[in-house]
């Protein structure tokens, strides 16, 4: 077992910490900071800096010195901590996703961050920073070992060839953001609320205090999303699904085969004329949720067919019985359900439609619930729980149909698992 260290650039990242703390304090209490600063002379300030920076540097260096990682046949071991030692052993066959991300500054320094998503793991289990080449090689090695290659060959396998499935053009992405209600909603809020406040209070500070966060939110939901989802590329390779995106911070995600728990097609009202959809996915223990930010529906469906093998998106979805209108007026029409031999699919929403697909093999438990009012109208809800902590619900089904659905779904989820691929997908897959 060879223990390795992170890239020597890493200590500089830690050196930021005391400056960040000071900045946080200054923002939190501006008046107090000003008073304190006025009392200090230049010499004291310089002396302070002369002490603080080496201390921070030393801390950064020591914590870098104490952090080791090693890849064994079955585990990734991370040993870290200066005062409080911490050892994390991550089982390779349980890896849900591997991300290589390169924030702007890291890109300049030629380093990358490697994050491994495992169910129930902490955020701390990321390797920051590694050399760019090293990060790529380690990612390939981890995935090769997780796939079940022998340790000697795992390193030589190298990066699996990728086949590009989809690339989102910047124009389509920009147009999709323009056609999203949230963009306009946050922009309107950012313009209207400060104006109203100015007219009523004439207090500059109140207006600034409300305007800044609102403009921040508006920026994040439009420009931020554009920058984050710029040049979105989805490709397929033997070690899983690759997602590349970002204008300033580049992120490279890999989801090994068979890790996707649910897939959602979201169709905002204004996108429907263009036939565009946004595809989201849930992977257990992973924070990433977008598969395709925007794409024409047939293309998105073909991508989903590659992600969930042999799954076709059901066309015909059945409506709840008419009397369900007594339980949920108007919106009951939006609740639809379809069960095919591969997926359990439900849709909800009238204006912004959201269609969720759960492969039968990913169902953890099935529940039926019925309140007193629902019983009066002989309807019931069927909930399907998945491993990513998401529950997909078929609402307002006929009570007898729901009871049949409950048992049939439990049966399907059990048999659906039999022909699923093993965790180590290259061993007998």
């Amino acid at each position: 077992m060879i223990e390795r260290r992170l890239h020597p650039v890493t200590p500089f990242r830690r050196a930021w910490a005391p400056i960040a703390v000071l900045a946080g304090w200054a923002v939190h209490d501006p008046d107090g900071t000003q008073q304190q600063l006025a009392r200090l002379t230049t010499t004291v300030l310089l002396l302070g800096l002369a002490v603080l920076v080496p201390v921070a540097g030393l801390y950064g260096f020591l914590s870098w010195w104490c952090t080791h990682f090693a890849v064994t046949d079955t585990e990734l071991r991370i040993r870290t901590g200066l005062l409080f030692r911490r050892t994390a052993h991550i089982r390779l066959e349980r890896i849900q996703a591997v991300d290589v991300s390169r924030p702007l500054l890291a890109r300049m320094a030629g380093v990358a961050k490697l994050r491994i998503d495992v169910v129930g793991a902490d955020d701390k289990d990321e390797l920051a920073f590694l050399g760019e080449q090293e990060a790529r090689a380690l990612r390939a090695e981890l995935l090769a070992r997780a796939a079940g290659f022998a340790p000697e060959t795992a390193r030589e396998v190298g990066e699996a060839p990728a086949y590009e499935l989809l690339r989102v053009p910047p124009r389509a992405l920009a147009l999709s953001l323009v056609l999203t209600g949230a963009t306009w909603g946050s922009l309107c809020a950012a313009l209207v609320a400060p104006t109203v406040l100015w007219l009523t209070t004439h207090n500059l500070w109140t207006v600034l205090a409300t305007a800044l966060p609102l403009f921040g939110a508006a920026g994040a939901s439009s420009a931020g999303r554009f920058v984050g989802e710029f040049d979105w590329k989805v490709s397929e390779s033997p070690d899983g699904l690759r997602i590349d995106h970002g204008l300033l911070d580049r992120t490279h995600e890999t989801v090994p085969p068979g890790r996707v728990q649910t897939v959602r097609f979201v169709e905002p009202l204004l996108w429907r004329r263009l036939g565009w959809v946004r595809v989201e996915l849930d992977v257990a223990g992973s924070a990433n949720s977008v598969l395709v930010p925007v794409a024409p529906r047939p293309i998105a469906e073909s991508v989903v067919a590659r992600v969930l093998h042999g799954v076709t998106v059901p066309e015909e979805l059945s409506r709840p019985p008419r009397r369900a209108g007594w339980c949920v007026p108007v919106w009951w029409r939006g609740h639809r359900l379809a069960v095919t031999d591969t997926v359990f699919a439900t849709r909800h929403g009238l204006l912004r439609r959201s269609l969720s697909l759960v492969p039968h093999a990913k169902v953890q438990s099935v529940r039926l619930s019925q309140g007193p009012w629902q019983r009066l109208w002989r309807v019931a809800d069927v909930h399907v729980d998945t491993g990513a902590g998401k529950t997909v619900t078929a609402r307002l089904r006929d009570a007898q149909e729901a009871a049949r659905l409950l048992h049939a779904q439990a049966e399907r989820s059990r048999t659906g698992r039999r022909d699923a691929r093993p965790d180590r997908w290259m061993t007998s897959g």
Partner: protein
């Protein structure tokens, strides 16, 4: 111990043996309700009677009335709880007004937990809880005989191992 008779449900041709909970669970819950509500009634009666006026002490009847109501409700709720071990999954039914039926395939169980608090132990009761990879799975069976709880735990973990499927 069996309160429900074997009956047919959704899957035809499969005889189901439903099992109910221990009657002691109703006793425990009633005891808890009575103790809490009596305390609340006493506090309300004393406070209102001394501070506002003796007539206001009649408000102490409210907790007592709700205790009497709960007395009946608890029995109905207890009767509604039942579970059945089928060949491949565990079935749990509960609730009177808000009914819920849960099916957990054995292969998906990550962990089976048997807990028993001090009051539960005093009355010879134990709770079995099933965890799957989904946090929403709410499969808890309270008020079991400790021996039955242990039998269930062993059987479930044995079946879970045999049919293990994980995520």
């Amino acid at each position: 111990m069996e309160t429900g008779s074997p009956e047919e449900t959704g899957t035809p041709g499969e005889e189901l043996t439903w099992r109910g909970l221990q009657p002691a669970l109703v006793r425990v819950r009633r005891l808890l309700v009575v103790v809490w509500m009596a305390g609340l009634a006493l506090a309300t009666g004393l406070l209102l009677g001394l501070l506002v006026g003796p007539a206001w002490a009649a408000f102490a009847l409210l907790p007592l009335a709700s205790a009497a109501w709960c007395w009946r409700l608890l029995e109905r709720n207890w009767r509604s709880w039942r579970y059945a071990e089928r060949a491949d999954d565990l079935l749990i039914c509960r609730g009177v007004l808000w009914r819920e039926e849960t099916v957990v395939p054995y292969g998906r169980m990550q962990l089976v937990e048997v807990t028993s608090g001090p009051i539960e132990r005093r009355f010879g009761l134990a709770t079995v809880q099933l965890h799957t990879a989904a946090a929403a799975t709410d499969a808890t069976i309270p008020g079991l005989d400790p021996a039955e709880a242990e039998r269930l735990r062993d059987r479930l973990s044995e079946l879970g191992e045999a049919r293990s499927a994980g995520l």
